[in-house]
Amino acid sequence: MNWKNVLYLVRVDRKSGRLLRGQKLTRYNPSRSRLTTFAFYFIAIAVGLGVGFLAQFIYSAAVSAEPNLQALFLGGYYSFLFSLPTISLLVSLIFTMLQQIQRSGVRATYQVPYWLPVTWEEHTVASVLAEVLGFPLISVAFISSLILVFSAFVGGFLSAIAAVLLMVAAAFMASALTEVFRILQVRFTGAVYKSTGRAAVWVRFVSSLVFFAVFYFIYFYIVSGAGPLVFVQTVASVQSAAWFVPFVWLGLTLFSLATGLLLQGTLFLALSLLFIAGLIYLGTLLNKRFGLYEPPAITVSRGTYTPKTGVLGRIGFSSAEAALVRKDLKAFTRRRELMATFILPIVFLILPIMTSLNTSPSTSAGDPFGQATFFLVFTTLLPVSMMAVSLGSFIIGEEGQGVWRIYASPISARNLVKSKYAFLLFFSLIVLPITGTAGFLIYQPSLRAMTALVLESIFLVFALGALSLANGIKGADFTEIPRPRMIRVEWSLINFIACAAVALAILAPLLAYELPVALFGTAPLIELYQALIISGVVAAVLGFAFYRLALENAEELIAKAET
């Protein structure tokens, strides 16, 4: 293996982020400062050191106040330490896999040009290394600095050093596994598409949603609510029992070494390293076999082409507007990077359900919305609002470089805004019956509360959709390399803040009704029907104003096609 080739390939992969960051390099400069290359690692270490010192300070303060807590704290800390390699492996795996899915929308190729004198071994090792150098190593840098500082004061410094080394190995294991998954995924999905023909579009859509749902579920399980503690305890207790699973061998290595079982520790370490080497070897074999595999064409239709008239024309859409809506429908169900938008409602259903698993639904006489209000808001207001905000902000930028077709066609600003707004309204509102029914069944609110939340959801969709569309047009980013950006970061932020403010304005009357009851047990400031009417009027006025703004922005967008 030529390690120089590996190094060059890793460099190319890491440099692919330049375009994403909008970095402009106009001159060849091999002696460019490397400081920025390592900025993320430095930041992770600095934050880790800060958190480590803070944790140590809190620990010292707590123990000096209550000495009995020391044993409890240290027990928890060692459980955490022993499970770190396994947790690091899982988290790295989730992030590298999600990154792979994001890259499915990437137009720039990360594959080595096959005509270059590079072997598949070099390519596979470079790919694994490049994955490791991303999120996995940054997270390892953060946790390592944290535990090293903490253990320097609290004890167990040698165990912490061992944990750091094993976490690095875990990052390698995760990246090698991702490389194997990636190749298999390309091969498997290609075979499925080939065999399913038209259904391939839906197979791809559903499988992508399931993939996102599973990984987001695991992700939120780890990072939200009571998840982390339960997760650490589970990993710490389960990994001994699951000794035959290679993914816990690194954790068992640490446990064995820290408890004096040197032979066992050495054995698990050797097995872990062999497993990593085996994964890289498997990745190489798969790359040799399928590396140049081109996914077969998806044949969506065969037979005679018959133009469809459709219902859109009958409900007041012009031919061009209806065509744009149909085109967007196909874009959002066929482009992987856009499919992720549809996962939002699922995420917002999963989150509260997981958090409220131990909370029994109940209502009190004084509070018509009941204790489950918070979770119900999650399942009714938030999914539809987030759909409207996401679709509104992405729906212009998703045109990508194909936007020339819009510019070059006789499409007016009115056509464009009407079709895009109709699309986002339709898809946001279609979510409401699904998430609303789920919320109703899980939390069993009063019919009155449910009706109020459904109406507020509709108000929010109309206003936030129009606002996000206006901002999505203004901040549209048609960059597609290395991945579609759709909206500029600053406009995404502006939109988020503006939407939060507008949502608050629309919901204010409802809050005036609900908060006195929920917080103080006093009578509401206004009646519910009054609150809903005022909310509706506010949403209508704001929605109309934002729609006009979207039209103005679209006029500007079309007139300034060259920029």
Binding site: P295, V300, Y305, K330, S409, P410, A559, K560
Partner: protein, 259 residues
């Protein structure tokens, strides 16, 4: 065909700058209805910018641009309705199939369903895309994508065709069909403006040729007029082009490279 405008395309003293770079420098140009006009020039000479100006995709800093009697600045949507356009590297919606893309284009131009169906079917057959029209465009070769882009320009029977490197990636049969088809359209009064680097095509297809260099229209005329301007009687377009643009001294470059 009767037209109530003297020129299909008219540029008067048009200029365009991008910061320090002069993309188009005081260009005057008038193209007759039914003419096939070739726009030639080295890379970065301003050809594509002029073509985009005709559609209102690029706004001129100075001067006036009229297309089919309409002021592009005042009503670019009306101009676009009458024009068929393919850019140099057309990016199509790759998540659509070929036929879905053409159906989309037909709807955008408001074509009646039956006319749309028959024309799409004819074009697909003529350019040998039958059998692949139901595949997603993402799986098409560059040549097939170019064919789809060209069909999308022809589909709504435009009065003016603006084609930027139209024969890029086409197989010889398809290229021949497109060339002959442009001649047929000429007889129907359709004006074509095309830019190309393939000088043989320009020589064979175009009635008149404009040669651009550093944003200026260096020479304009039919082949005979260009030969006279270059003082190269009996020469081909390549020699004329290289002499007029001052880029003909390639021997020294080749010698340097071969060291």
């Amino acid at each position: 065909m009767t037209n109530n405008y003297p020129f299909a395309v008219e540029l008067k003293n048009v200029a365009k700058r991008y910061n320090e770079i002069v993309a188009v420098d005081n260009v005057d140009l008038a193209i007759q209805p039914g003419e096939i006009f070739g726009l030639l020039g080295p890379n970065g000479s301003g050809k594509s910018t002029i073509l985009k100006m005709l559609l209102g995709l690029v706004q001129a800093d100075f001067g006036a641009v009229r297309v089919l009697g309409l002021d592009v600045k005042l009503d670019s949507v009306a101009v676009k309705r009458l024009v068929g356009y393919t850019p140099e590297s057309p990016r199509l919606y790759e998540f659509l199939t070929g036929v879905e893309f053409l159906d989309f284009i037909g709807d955008i131009y408001g074509m009646p369903a039956e006319e749309k169906r028959s024309r799409i079917t004819e074009y697909l057959r003529a350019l040998q895309l039958e059998g692949r029209e139901g595949d997603m465009i993402s799986s098409y070769s560059e040549g097939m994508k170019q064919k789809i882009a060209l069909i999308s320009a022809f589909l709504h029977k435009p009065k003016l065709l603006i084609l930027d490197e139209p024969l890029n990636g086409l197989d010889p049969r398809s290229a021949r069909i497109v060339k002959d088809f442009l001649h047929q359209l000429k007889l129907q009064g359709v004006t074509t403006i095309m830019s190309t680097h393939i000088l043989e095509i320009a020589q064979a297809v175009c009635d008149r040729i404009g040669i651009m260099y550093q944003g200026r229209l260096l020479a304009l005329g039919n082949m005979e007029e260009l030969r006279q301007m270059a003082m190269l009687p009996g020469s081909g377009l390549e020699d004329i082009f290289l002499k007029l643009t001052g880029t003909g001294d390639v021997r020294a470059v080749v010698e340097e490279l071969s060291k």
